[in-house]
């Protein structure tokens, strides 16, 4: 299997704080992968570097066979990376439908846009809320709406930053099912997650970040049993 994403020697420091300390990381096409690590391990910074919100001090990012290290965020998105943030990144004053329109209108129009919107309303079960301002949705619904916006553009790689934060157990389980569904459609998924139960539900492989470097990578079982991982979490349990 080819790698959709390959990161080599990625380094970034803010003043004296090193948030990425020579990360080497690769993700095979079609994977469903989780990124974990204690607070301040550099997970969010890693996402920002992937998305082009921070420029790395050193290293390269190869996506889908081409070097995207120097591309701007929107250009990376156009190449097929999509993202869902921890805090729902939706347009609260706009209706659910408008949110979806904005997300898809760039590559669809007319009837095909309409079809896509309906498909996504089905997917998120938000038909009844089509004209509701997105800010009035429940927290879980907002998260789903954003996932719909993120996947409706048919990305090759979907980045998820704590997709289940603040969700009820029921919503969490439903979200997991959605992700499996998307993965089955061929979207590679990379998620940052804290909830280990959820990680177990979705991830086939897990990478642990610590102090801006990759600490260990393996299957979920391997990670749970790894003594170093427990130490990292316990050692910083007071954070």
């Amino acid at each position: 299997m080819t790698d959709i994403l390959r990161v080599q020697g990625l380094r970034k420091a803010f003043g004296g704080v090193v948030v990425a300390n020579g990360i080497d990381f690769s993700l095979s096409t079609g994977a469903m992968h989780c990124l974990i690590g204690p607070n301040g391990a550099g997970k969010s910074s890693f996402f920002r570097l992937l998305l082009g919100e921070h420029a790395p001090d050193a290293g390269t990012i190869i996506f889908d066979g081409s070097d995207i290290t120097n591309l701007r965020s929107f250009q990376r998105i156009r190449r097929g990376i999509s993202v869902k943030f921890q805090v729902p990144g939706i347009f609260k004053a706009l209706s659910v439908r408008q949110n979806l329109e904005v997300a898809f209108q760039d590559h669809l129009n007319g009837q095909s846009l309409n079809t896509k919107i309906h498909e996504m309303l089905d997917f998120t079960d938000l038909h009844a809320e089509e004209t509701t301002p997105a800010g009035n949705l429940s927290h879980g619904q907002q998260q789903w709406l954003e996932i719909a916006m993120a996947v409706g553009v048919e990305p090759k790689l979907l980045l998820l930053d704590e997709p289940t934060a603040g969700m009820s157990p029921d919503e969490t389980r439903k979200t997991g099912e959605m992700l499996h569904d998307l993965n089955a459609r061929g979207i590679t998924i990379l998620a940052v997650e804290h909830d280990m139960a959820f990680v177990e539900q979705i991830a086939r492989r897990v990478t642990v970040l610590h102090f801006g470097s990759i600490f260990v990578e393996g299957t979920i079982a391997e990670i749970i049993d790894h003594p170093g991982v427990q130490e990292i979490y316990l050692g910083t349990a007071d954070v």
Binding site: F74, I77, R78, F91, A93, L94, Q98, N99, G110
Partner: protein
């Protein structure tokens, strides 16, 4: 945005469909009948009013372009520009310089008008590029634009000397440039000079209607969708693959071109333009019109601007020295009681009553 298989007719239809949409208040036959009645009333107005009132109404219409432009930049794209007057003033001076050099024959004043708007819009494009591609955000946009307009004002105010001339046109410093011809339509026999009065009024009314409908189409198009999305959450828009800076710059340039249209028309109207039209007080006025009317809706901006202009003028006529106090109080009341704007508040209220009646 429109796929290749569409015929010209369906393209027109889909453009017209954009006259309504989530970005603009008012839809359905009731709204359009009301709009048609309003336009018809505005068109019939000169038949009943005296020459001064008509000329004065034309004067109010002149300002609505700047207000609608600011509505796009601030209300829709979410960037509060405090310096629309920079583009207004630049275009005003451009109109003066061009017409004083070229004269008013052969409809050259109309060419001057177009050139002035282009110059103002281009300058806005440059400033917009400078700001948005320089990652300037939020209140800092207001401060940069205000600085730009104040620099222009300070500079123009000291150009009184005879060395400050462009061709035939003397800039004439703080006292302002005058003597430029009004808009002139080429006509068989003799050209028609559009002094403030019914003919200028009709020309402006036509322009307002065209610009208003054009803006409705633009705001409900995919471009407008992205603008409001940027206002709500620019970060997310970038993460959907849009170049946010480009959209903001374009919106800013459009807003600037509208301000420039007001500026050139104002100069033609009064045959006079002065640096103080770029000063602090002038710069604040468009913000007030737009805020009081309602910035999030182009219809409210349009109506609000005319109401506020007319209201403030009558306050000055009848309220004498209390006018400014009342204006200040009105602003406070708007912000505290109807933060969406008085016109939007009223329209929402009317809409609710209307719906109740129906059901």
């Amino acid at each position: 945005m429109i796929s290749s298989e569409t015929t010209p007719r369906s393209r027109t239809r889909s453009l017209l469909a954009r006259l309504e949409g989530p970005q603009t208040m008012g839809r359905g036959p009731a709204f359009w009948i009301a709009a048609a009645v309003a336009i018809a009333a505005a068109a019939a107005y000169p038949l009943t009013a005296d020459a001064w009132t008509v000329g004065n109404a034309a004067y109010f219409l002149i300002w609505t372009f700047m207000a609608m432009g600011l509505g796009v930049v601030w209300g829709y794209a979410g960037a509060l520009s405090f310096g629309q007057t920079a583009f207004f003033g630049l275009a005003g001076y451009a109109y003066g310089v061009i017409t004083l050099n070229l004269g008013a024959a052969y409809g050259l004043t109309l060419v001057a008008l177009v050139l002035a708007v282009a110059i103002g819009g281009l300058f806005a494009l440059v400033i917009g590029y400078f700001m948005f591609y320089g990652r300037i955000q939020g209140v800092f946009i207001g401060i940069v634009t205000l600085s730009v307009t104040l620099v222009l004002e300070t500079f123009m105010a000291q150009t009184a000397g005879p060395q400050w001339r462009i061709g035939e046109a003397r800039l004439n410093g703080f006292n302002g440039m005058s003597g430029m011809p009004p808009l002139t339509l080429p006509w068989v026999g003799e050209d028609i000079a559009l002094y403030p009065g019914p003919s200028l009024y009709y020309l402006l009314l036509g322009l307002v209607v065209i610009c208003y409908l054009g803006l409705r189409i633009m705001l409900n198009s995919s471009f407008g969708n992205v603008l409001v999305a940027i206002r709500e959450n620019p970060h997310r828009v970038g993460m959907l693959g849009y170049d946010v800076r480009l959209y903001q710059t374009l919106a800013f340039a459009i807003g600037g071109a509208f301000a420039a249209l007001s500026g050139a028309l104002y100069t033609a109207w009064g045959q006079y333009i002065t640096p103080s039209s770029m000063g602090l007080t002038s710069a604040a006025l468009p913000i007030i019109w737009v805020a009081v009317g309602g910035r999030r809706d182009i219809t409210a901006t349009l109506i609000g601007t005319i109401v506020v202009l007319a209201g403030f003028q009558s306050l000055t006529i009848y309220g004498s020295q209390y006018a400014l106090v009342v204006m200040g109080a009105l602003l406070l009341v708007t912000v505290l009681v109807a933060p969406q704007g008085l016109v939007v508040g009223a329209m929402t209220f009317l809409g609710r009553i209307f719906k109740k009646d129906k059901s």
